[in-house]
Symmetry: C2
Subunit: 207 residues, 2 copies
């Protein structure tokens, strides 16, 4: 194989990569809105304009597309969350920013709950890799929250509690179709955060 062939092959691979990315970006909203099983390969072909043959050359199977969509969601979710958290430097506000982020998300067009939880409900009963990705995303979120919390000097018990509050707010908002749970969760979080950041005062009460 000549050097030019190497270059050409690399270029093809790069083009495939960008094509894969645009496909994932295009089909993600569909999967989010209706679920994975409800969107067929032919609909993916129609919405992307990419022939089935090419789709199957770019992705070995539909499950691989689903996986990459999940990974893409993970990336955008983390980026949006980080942006909101890092918009302030006050430790207390950084922790509560999680719930402001949720409030904005819940009121956004087409909100239908956490894609990972939905995927878990849809595919958790059957095969392997999807639940693992869901688990990884939740773990990542919890660890990020733990970093923010410990940076604020909070005890390590706080972060899991806030994570549970956030998780509950998301599913409650999705099912009830209302953004109210973000406010309610934020109010609860304020109490927990204040209790955690002022341990002396609460001890005082206990006495």
């Amino acid at each position: 194989m000549t050097e030019e062939d190497h270059w050409a092959a690399d270029r093809v691979l790069a083009e495939d990569a960008v094509m894969r990315a645009t496909i994932i970006e295009t089909v993600s909203p569909l999967f989010y809105a209706r679920g994975f099983t409800a969107v067929g390969m032919d609909e993916l072909r129609a919405v992307t304009g990419v022939s089935l043959k090419r789709l199957y050359r770019l992705f070995p199977s539909k499950e691989d597309i689903v996986e990459e969509v999940l990974l893409s969601w993970r990336g955008t979710w983390e980026a949006n969350l980080r942006a909101q958290v890092e918009s302030t430097q006050v430790p207390r506000e950084r922790l509560l920013a999680v719930f402001d982020f949720l409030a904005g998300w819940f009121t956004s067009e087409g909100f239908r709950g956490c894609a990972f939880i939905n995927s878990f409900g849809e595919l958790g009963g059957i095969s392997g890799r999807i639940p693992a990705i869901v688990r990884a995303q939740k773990k990542e979120f919890q660890e990020y929250l733990a970093r923010v919390a410990t940076a604020s000097g909070a005890p390590e018990t706080l972060a899991p509690q806030l994570a549970i509050l956030a998780e509950g707010a998301v599913t409650t908002a999705a099912i009830a179709g209302s953004a109210e749970s973000a406010r309610q969760a934020r109010a609860a979080a304020e109490i927990l955060v204040d209790a955690a950041l002022a341990p002396a005062a609460s001890t005082l009460i206990a006495l």
Copy 2:
């Protein structure tokens, strides 16, 4: 139609009702373990020993079976929850009993999250009656919690917060495969309940 015919017809209807109940009871664990779409009618026939013909005479369609299974889950869930809550008379303990109930549930064999949330993830994208049932169950839970909370003299902001905590604990436990979230949610609930039941003290802190 003679009077005896009336009796016979009633007896048949009654037998159908009990048969329906036993079928629902038999297939519920299957649906819970693997999801609704993953369990086919033929498997229902095999596990119940009831022929397809009779199944379709007892239930107009698979969706009707799914609906009744959801309603059955609703009943057992509420009964178990009530039993745990009413095992004590101390207002504070009654509220926290919710999370003790969760802890027991999470460690039970075959726990795989909230059947309603899973169903919502599986079938929420395609319309119909199932999401409505899920919504009704969540509303019922929140209202029950609100009754317990107000009976304890807590402000009406507490119950939604506890509901969100419980919801989050369930999905966290399901995805992480651990019962830890019940303990963590209980700890958070203690703080919220104590803050709500001792408003004077927290006001004192604020000053």
